[in-house]
Symmetry: C2
Subunit: 396 residues, 2 copies
């Protein structure tokens, strides 16, 4: 009988999607150029030309039966090989094809991983602020999401609160670095300390506590400094990756799960992903796109625009006196609102055609997210609106 669990969810509305919808409608009234829509994390740069050329070549040259034929559930073998090779080359860990499971984006990767590492009733810990979709990924699998409150100073980890939260039901810890919504990258120090605690607690409770590392923003890093590769620091790490951001392909739903080659039961869990897939009708990711990303795996879109946008915005926000941790990557910034309720702050911003997402759904009330994956020219023009908003509403 029509499942109330999902029916009830229809009442909850996504603040981000609503704001995005508002921006679209407002654009119809005042013109697209006059709405400063910082709501949605949709890449704003084209995929690399080589990706498009690869697509065309595959379609023209390959036997269409092979090109569009069934992929094995775990992924096309040559694609798995290429993903493993790229990880070996870039991060120096001995990945092989059997450590990889191709998915429909990071969402698919996390949904599978969560079902592999824990049974209903067990717990997964994450750190606020966090990507709001972690809630449905985890709770709809039957697992329980536990949230460590934010480290407001640097958006690293409140280890004191984290340690208290770990118990014998803790199956995994889910992190996201570079982070949505803060743009912050976990430092080596943070990752080392995290690994030490997880190692110790795994021993104490007699089972591995897995580290699920959600890495769709891995390539969007600023200042030319690569983000530390999480899996290097803790062997029981499961990477969930998406090509949505690096190759600007969010609609094509392509990503992967990569277990650390030394991960306890890692290869078994990859095999299990194939079984999990049978239940959720995922089966395999689209074959044409699998083949195309495998051929362009070491490329990225021109991601430099995001750093340019960050510099402009961060500078202005600091000048205006916002409390704000400087992003190390991604295309997000997460400043403190100028009043306690970020929802009211966001509501007032709308009057100036600024779409800012309140931090509540990220588990961090009082803050707001700006997704600056928009044209640089528009970021520059938005500064006047921001100044006006702050002056008129908060007299700053």
């Amino acid at each position: 009988m029509v499942a109330t669990k999902y029916k009830d969810m229809l009442q909850e509305k996504s603040v981000i999607r609503e704001l995005f919808g508002y921006a679209l409608n407002r654009a119809k009234e005042v013109g697209y150029d006059n709405v400063f829509d910082y709501s949605l994390g949709n890449p704003s740069v084209e995929p690399p030309k080589e990706f498009t050329q690869t697509l065309l070549r595959l379609i023209k040259e390959m036997d269409p039966m092979a090109l569009h034929g069934y992929s094995p559930t775990l992924g096309i073998p040559s694609v798995l090989e290429k993903v493993a090779a790229s990880l070996r080359q870039r991060f120096g860990l001995p990945y092989k094809a059997e450590h990889i499971f191709m998915t429909t984006g990071a969402a698919g990767a996390i949904a599978h991983t969560v079902r592999a590492v824990c049974s209903p009733g067990e717990e997964i810990i994450t750190f606020a602020p966090f990507f709001p979709e972690y809630r449905p990924y985890i709770t709809l699998s039957g697992a329980i999401l536990k949230i460590v409150p934010p480290d407001y100073d640097a958006f690293q980890i409140r280890f004191d609160l984290f340690e208290e939260m770990i118990n014998d039901k803790t199956a995994a810890v889910l992190i996201n670095t570079p982070n949505n919504p803060t743009g912050v990258i976990y430092s080596e120090e943070t990752l080392k300390k995290l690994a030490t605690i997880l190692t110790q607690k795994s021993k104490q409770f007699g089972h591995p506590i897995y580290l699920i590392s959600d890495e769709p923003y891995r390539e969007i890093v600023f200042g030319g400094i690569p983000a530390p590769y999480v899996s290097t620091y803790y062997k029981d790490t499961i990477v969930c990756y998406s090509f949505s951001k690096s190759l600007s392909l969010p609609g094509e739903r392509i990503g992967y799960v990569a277990v650390n080659p030394n991960c306890e039961q890692g290869e078994t869990m990859i095999q299990m992903c194939g079984q999990i897939s049978r239940g959720i009708g995922h089966n395999c990711p689209p074959s044409l796109i699998q083949l195309a990303v495998a051929e362009t795996i070491m490329l990225t879109s021109d991601l430099s625009i995001y750093e340019k946008n960050k510099n402009i915005l961060y500078q202005e926000l600091k000048t205006l006196g916002f409390t704000c941790v400087e992003p190390d990557g991604t295309f997000y910034i997460f400043p403190k609102a100028l009043e306690e309720d970020a929802n009211l702050f966001s509501l007032k911003a709308k009057k100036y055609d600024l779409c800012l997402v309140p931090g509540d759904s990220f588990g961090c009330p009082g803050y707001f997210r700006m997704a600056y994956c928009i044209e640089t020219e528009k970021v520059e023009r938005s500064l006047e609106a921001i100044r006006k908003f702050v002056k008129k509403e908060y007299n700053r």
Copy 2:
């Protein structure tokens, strides 16, 4: 802690996949031409040329940001419109975009529908023989699969046994016509009687019993007679469709859910599919392929080869004295084995390089499935092997 539910599944092996693997290895030994692999239901004709041309045109002409950008969770609006229009035109029901949810193939469609129409512990009834993947689609959602034994005479429905099985926990009935593995199409009479019973039982138990109609083979029908459109006969019907077979695109994972426009809570369930999607990381089907199938939605591959193959095989099997219901469509035939245990029968067939799938996993022991989606020339050459097998092993 590593989920035993899925880990245990690794022990169960798919008979079909194993046989397919055997055929691949055997082909390396004796040559591809000499192995008669009737194991896998993989389309053996090319996608229509127009599909490939559409793909190329979209890639060359569309803005890559729009082409590869996020699709709304329910599907790209123009695609939903085109799917609805094609169903209106072909089947005369007043479908609109809000009755459609785009999925990753029929697997995705069924997985979503099962989660929408029932909660864990409720029951879904299907009819043997049935597609083995119905088990994981249903049981991994927490629902219970009930199976009505086969109608051996015609592979229609044993209504007496069906009626006994319906109770107040019955949330839905799942059918597949044209059917895998029998190739049989449910007659108008069968569908009318099914509708009458479901209407009466829905009334008796005070809630709609939904009819989930799995229709990936809808276009593969023989003798030029279209299959009756299930949704016409019962308003609370939810169609699960895939383009895998009609356009020969199994690897591209594209299909849809279509609720009957008069289905009780139908539009709500489409919205719910979007929520279910959030939990299983499906999000939206690949955007490029969504757009391409929408443009070629009234086309099919050249499906005539399947009828040709059916005629050759059915004729020979009858001549050899097999008990066999003549297929009305699909690319399957499901004869009775020549000994009680179809597994032994299948094992012996291997000696003649014939790969025949025993019916046990389809819920119909003693029968076997042949997937004749192979070259006609090969079907013809296989007759000699079949004759030899039958003569030597069963002296017929």
